[in-house]
């Protein structure tokens, strides 16, 4: 009786382990398939159409059927991301400091759910709000069409805030309290403590916060597509309509004939986005290893 029960428990244990292991393996499988499929499609431009990788990355001449140089979209993506991280980054870190060092309990209890809500707001709603509030505002104050780098950059700055805030708060909280106490005991003001002690010690955690903010910004599609103007030109200024890699994919994939050079180029852009995302993850791992 006991023996059979033990046997059954043992069998149960083995089955359970196998099933769980399979689920974990599924995650690897999903990522591997994603990589293989996008690589296969994304490399066709270079392998099948014999277009040069160099021209794809660095040429601003975008002729979908003959010469799809993607530099415009790469520069566009870099510009909006840079804008977003320059505005949203410091702002997010500042609020992270506020939450970990200054905020009274009552304030945290309001701010944290507010940040959770910000995470949950669909990106298309951010885009819609940008379209309704920001674009007309820019149009009326500057006389430009309103769509462009500035509008997209502001929308993205707001969208990456929750990521940066949450992760930088974690970075400050994970610091040893003795650091802070020591600095304060030496007579430093709270501000001096933050700038001279906490910021440098949390730097690797803050790097992670900024990089994951970049990851969120660089792949964002619809919120940007609604407000950036989607022009196939390099951004010459903040008010200039331009395009990013994801917005160009959404704009042209619907009309691209299967097997055409344009379709191949769009999948190359998607593959490039995937490579960017993966290299950001590698940087994060590197930064975290340094911390540990």
């Amino acid at each position: 009786m006991i023996a059979t029960q033990a046997k059954r428990a043992h069998a149960q244990e083995r089955i359970a382990t196998t099933v769980l292991r399979m689920a974990a393996g599924f995650v690897i499988l999903a990522m591997a398939l994603l990589l293989i499929y996008l690589a296969t499609e994304g490399l066709k431009l270079f392998v099948v159409d014999h277009f040069s990788v160099f021209a794809f990355l660095f040429s601003g001449d975008y002729q979908p059927d003959t010469h799809p140089g993607a530099a415009i979209y790469i520069v566009g993506s870099l510009s909006v991301t840079l804008f977003a991280i320059c505005i949203g980054g410091p702002f997010g870190i500042a609020v992270g400091i506020f939450l970990s060092e200054l905020a009274p309990l009552r304030m945290s209890q309001i701010l944290k759910p507010a940040i959770d809500v910000m995470v949950g707001i669909p990106s298309v709603v951010y885009g819609w709000l940008g379209l309704q509030l920001l674009v007309p505002l820019i149009r009326n104050t500057t006389g430009s069409p309103g769509f462009g780098l500035l509008a997209a950059g502001i929308v993205l700055s707001i969208m990456i805030l929750p990521t940066v805030i949450t992760l930088s708060e974690d970075a400050f909280r994970s610091l040893s309290p003795t650091l802070k106490e020591g600095s304060l005991a030496l007579g430093a003001t709270r501000w001096q403590t933050i700038v001279r002690v906490l910021l440098p010690s949390a730097s690797s955690g803050l790097t992670v916060a900024l990089i994951l903010g970049i990851a969120r910004a660089v792949g964002e599609t619809l919120a940007v597509q609604l407000v950036i103007g989607n022009a196939s030109q390099f951004p010459h200024g903040l008010l200039n309509p331009t395009s990013t890699l994801p917005t160009e994919i959404v704009q042209d994939l619907g009309g691209a004939a299967q097997g055409s050079m344009l379709e191949h180029a769009l999948f190359s852009m998607a593959f490039l986005l995937l490579l960017i995302a993966m290299s950001l993850i590698l940087i994060v791992r590197f930064a975290l290893r340094k911390r540990a």
Partner: protein, 307 residues
């Protein structure tokens, strides 16, 4: 956590009183600025809610919320779109939760450090940063072009399953981490197997934070857009508002908001846009509140302690 407002000055003789005053005013200024930034976030969010409320609340009629969408004329509703959002959400959760929770349990409770575990964790992290448009293209490639499935609820849900696996896995792992090792040891010491320990003791005590995490992710699935355009499609079957079939195109509410602005031919874009945005925002708030309430009640009921 609260640091005293007037930090002690240790060596007043060395630092001139003017220096102290300057440092103190910088400190005070910094405090004010940080408070201002924090408050501005709340104000901004409140503005979004108010703006959509003012512009959208007039459309919250049964005709709009339950009606069929229209094309080429004004007065369309968003009934099938709301239904599809929930339908795809449920389908996605039915697929994601078992896989992600199992994978999370495996990594957190079973796997020893090694190549397999490292690879799973790296895959999950990499998958988590994949932009949702790229995931949408992957869904298009594998499900539509390779398996010849149509743009449909099930294709959309399968794509979202992969998209949300890493987040849900992380939620599981973090919830399991909150369970003290003493509980595991106690369970094992009375002769329970590892599997029994996990299903009977560990998972029940982690259920609170896990539910909170899952519901928050559900809110995100509800509003997902970019991954669905090329997988679930931009339309609904026009003769049934509640289409349970898995194989039909199933435009969700968030996609409909984008579609209305980008592709449709209706004259009342602003009405449908503001109305849909308000419903989406309302749902986000609802999911957030539900996440907290559910998490707290479940923790209380299953462990008899408050979180």
């Amino acid at each position: 956590m609260d640091i005293s407002v007037n930090p002690p000055v240790s060596n007043p003789t060395l630092l001139g009183s003017a220096g102290v005053r300057a440092r103190r005013s910088t400190d005070r200024l910094a405090t004010v600025v940080l408070w201002g930034m924090a408050i501005s976030i709340i104000v901004m969010l409140a503005c979004f809610v108010l703006y959509l409320l003012v512009l959208g609340v007039q459309y919250m009629t049964p005709d709009f919320i339950f009606g069929l969408p229209k094309e080429g004329e004004a007065g369309g509703g968003i009934g099938p779109e709301i239904f599809n959002s929930f339908y795809i959400l449920v389908l996605t959760l039915v697929m994601t939760v078992p896989i992600a929770v199992s994978a999370g349990v495996y990594i957190q409770e079973y796997a020893r450090p090694g190549r397999f575990r490292g690879l799973v964790q790296f895959s999950a992290e990499a998958l988590a940063t994949v932009p949702s448009i790229v995931m949408g293209l992957f869904g298009l490639l594998i499900f539509v072009y390779f398996f010849h499935l149509r743009f449909s609820a099930i294709v959309g849900a399968m794509t979202l399953t992969i998209l949300n696996l890493p987040a849900l896995m992380r939620v599981t792992q973090e919830a399991l981490r909150t369970v003290p090792d003493s509980l595991r040891e106690a369970s094992m010491s009375i002769g329970a197997t590892k599997w029994q320990t996990i299903t009977k003791a560990v998972l029940p005590s982690a259920i609170g934070p896990m539910t909170t995490g899952i519901v928050l992710i559900a809110g995100r699935i509800f509003g997902e857009t970019a991954a669905l355009i090329y997988t679930a499609g931009l339309s609904v079957t026009t003769n049934s508002p509640y289409d349970f079939s898995l194989g039909h195109p199933a435009e969700t509410l968030a996609v409909h908001l984008w579609y209305t602005r980008s592709e449709s031919t209706v004259p009342d874009v602003a009405r449908i846009g503001n109305g849909s945005a308000l419903v989406l925002l309302f749902m986000v708030l609802l999911f957030n509140i539900a996440a907290r309430v559910l998490g707290r009640t479940l923790t209380k009921r299953l462990t008899g302690k408050s979180s």
